[in-house]
Each structure stands twice: as C-alpha cells, then as structure tokens.
Symmetry: C2
Subunit: 281 residues, 2 copies
Amino acid sequence: MELWYTEKHSENVGITMKVSHSLFSGKSEFQQLEIVETLEYGKMMLLDGLVMVTERDEFIYHDMIVHPALFTHPSPKKILVIGGGDGGSIREIMKHPEVEQAILCEIDGLVIEKSIEFLPTMASEIDGSNPRVKLHVDDGLAYIRDHQNEFDVILVDSTDPIGPAVGLFEEDFYRLVYGALKEDGIMVAQSESPFYHPKIQQAMYANLRNVFPIVEMYQAFIPTYPSGFWSFAFASKRYHPVTDFDAQRAAKRDFYTKYYNEQLHLGAFMLPTFARENIAK
Amino acid sequence: MELWYTEKHSENVGITMKVSHSLFSGKSEFQQLEIVETLEYGKMMLLDGLVMVTERDEFIYHDMIVHPALFTHPSPKKILVIGGGDGGSIREIMKHPEVEQAILCEIDGLVIEKSIEFLPTMASEIDGSNPRVKLHVDDGLAYIRDHQNEFDVILVDSTDPIGPAVGLFEEDFYRLVYGALKEDGIMVAQSESPFYHPKIQQAMYANLRNVFPIVEMYQAFIPTYPSGFWSFAFASKRYHPVTDFDAQRAAKRDFYTKYYNEQLHLGAFMLPTFARENIAK
C-alpha cells in the first residue's frame, strides 16, 4: 500500500509526501500529535494535521529563528523559548558560548517527550543532559507574567494562530513579552507566510508596533511550509537587526550553520515589494 | 467531480492543486501543452506535465529573470529572450524605456499561440501590437549562431534540462551566448532549485564559469516551483550584479514591481550557506 500525506495550505492547494510508516500517533490535552517517517524529508512531526518540522529542512527554520537575534544582541546570556518543544531552537541557542541559560517553556509535555524519543537530532539538548537548559511544561503567558525584566532574548517558536497558540499573536501577549525582556531585549516570533497569510501578518505586525519601538520582518525558504516563503518578526527594544548587526562577530562564529550566514542575515531583511507593502505602517 | 492536479517534485513529494476545468490540451512537435484553470493560482500552463507559469505567481519569476540584468546593465538596448513563449519576460522588458528592441526566440510556436489566446496578461506584448518586439519561432542555438556580437542582454527563459531545453544547460551553448553578446553583455538563465537540484546546479555553474568571467547565483521564492526556493544564474562579461549595480537608478524606475525592488536586488544574491557551497568553485 502506498501512503501519501497531503497537507492543504488552503482549500485549493497543498503539499503531498510519501510516508513509509507511522512512528507515533496520540492525543494530548492540547492537540493531536503525529510522528511519521517520510521518504523525502525523513521523520516529520505534525500537530493537529499540520507539518511542524521535518528532519531534512528543520535546519532552515531553527537557524533562522535563533541566529539573527543572537548575533544582533551583543551579549545574549539568558534566553527563553516559548513553544519549540521539538528542541531544535534550544539546540541552536546552545551553540552560542555567551548563553548562560536557556529556558524552554512548552505547553504540551507530550511534544517534548516524543521529540526526545523519536527526533533525537533536534531534541539533543532538552533530554536533561545539558545543565544550561531548563524545561518548564507550562503556558507561555503564565510563565512570562511571573518573570519580568529577566531575558535578553525571547523566541516565540509557536504553531499557527489556531489552537493553543492563538494567544501568542495578540497585543496583550506582546506587552507581557516586552516586560519580560531586559531593557535592551529582543523578541523573535515566527510570523507565517507573506504569500498565503497577509491578513494574519497585518494584524500581528500592527500589534507588535503598538508595543516595540523596532519591528522588522525577515524571510526564509522553508520547503515544507505553505508556499515555501516563510517569515519571522524581529521586535526589539534597542538593537536594530541591520544597522546594529556586527557582521564581523557573526563571521567569527566557531560553529557551522547550513542556512544562516552573516551576509544572508542582511539579505533576509530585504523583502519583496508585496510583502513589505502588506505590513507597511 | 473534484479534479486535483499533482506535480511530483521528486518520486516522494509534490504539490497538488484543485483544477476547475481544462482550457487547452494538445501536442506540438516538441512537447505536450496543457492550460488549465486552477482555483488558487488562476490559469496555469504546463509543458510535459510540469508547471511553467500560473497567473497568480508569475510576477515573481518574470520580475526576477528580467529586472536584475536590465538594472545592472547601464544601457540595455537590444535584448534576446530564448524560450519564454508565454510572453511574461517580454512584458517586463518592455517596461524599460531604454530598450529599443526585444526578440523572442521560442522553439515551439504552439506555446506562443496558446499564450496569446489564453494568457493575455502575460502575452500582452507578443501579440503583434508592439513594434519594439520581434518573434522568431526557432531553435535558440541556431538563432544565436547567426547573431554574434549583437545583444546587450540575453535571457534564457527555459524549461528544465529535459526535453527540448537540454542543450540550453551545456557549455557549448554558453559559448554561443557569450559570442552573441556585445563586449559588455549579460546573460541570465533560470537555474533550478538549490534544494532539489544541487547536481544540475553544480554542472551548470561549472559550465558557465568556463565561459564567463563573472558568474553569480541569485534566488527568488516561487511557490509553484519545486520547494518554492528557485534560482537564476547571472553571467556577465563586465558588470557585476552587486558591485556595479546602481540602486539609485533602479529606485527611480517609473513602473511598479510587485516582487523586485532595489534592496531585494542585493538581498537576492545573499545566499544560504548550503546553496553557496554547492556551487562554490
């Protein structure tokens, strides 16, 4: 029997992938979790039927949610990841020697547990082996409400604004994040596809601009996400991701990045006209 | 009945689109041509079962195959397009007032004929109404062999390196193109996906470097092409697409570009590490 998984990116278009077998299927308190083995993309994790990560292209998403902020902030010591239970963001954060502590606050313990079990290349730093990493199975909103003025960087590594992540796209949440950051802190959040989700982006960037003095969008190619054209919001209290970026420091990193590099950092902020206009003030 | 068109981008992954009806289906001397109406992407043209253009995202491909070269060359007067029978590249070329003559050399007359009939937003400048445009239904190789030292810019707007376009990826062809360009001429060719076609790219860029002194790759998001991550080769006798690019001149253009802009021009050449390394000398 040939098994094909098809994710509809709208009512009328989708991606389809050949699946060899299922590794896990189960329902948590929050969502349906699936891990399958695909022939093209290796192991793939789905939440409520949507692709979250695949082994083959996760390097792009995780390079791009982590390194632009950590190479813009001159001294990123304490980092919070909200969501990101697969561990890929924490793995990239741990490559930065300045980081003293990274905290993962994931609402769904089942995602963490099954990532450790089935996606070890992503979850390598959240399995308890690294003393610089702390895990909290908790609602991100509740957690940051109790941790104000504490973080250099907060990464919102969330699902789409449906289901448990809906609150993570609202202005009230961004105000809490602003408060949880130190006076020169930076937030990065995944911000959907400029091609398929222009309305979500308009609302999200308007909300961010009501809270942060510096808000910029940047882009990455992610083949398994809708349209392949994905974006991130860079919201900052002090440092600008282009004019305050020290390319020399980024070039001297002592670890390999398969997608990110100091030139691409700048190019990622140079957006197509339609994408820039959609979120223009 | 629900009709879904699925294009496999490899044996194990593909894109699937809902189709309302077929507008044309026929076989030319060279290939199978299909034009269908899709719900998400408007009218879509396929050659030998592969997506060539759709009404909704063609602006990206056509902006990016035309404008980087025409804004790098300081005086692009005579332009040749090889392939490109849908007319989209000629439409964008005609927006540049410096261009005195554009020649379309397409091997398959049926593609031109049916584009004029069914894709008028793309074919608007190849229907005989514009005296600055000339059409030749001819093999691109034969045509340039007879037209040496003649063009400021040559655009290779071809299909994939299978079927009638296979010769357009070989070193002998690039030598002919080199000869057909004036002493400061520029060639741009679509160069497949860095994500899915690394081997094709390696061969193509090695061939180009054997012929041209300046060879650079640049990128664009094209949702309906494999992986969404597409690329173009910029091969040039004199002008470098970044260091010789006059952003001021591009910024003063008196036409709208929905994808291209003078900042994105520079960002397009800032490549992900894996894409840059794959074609490194």
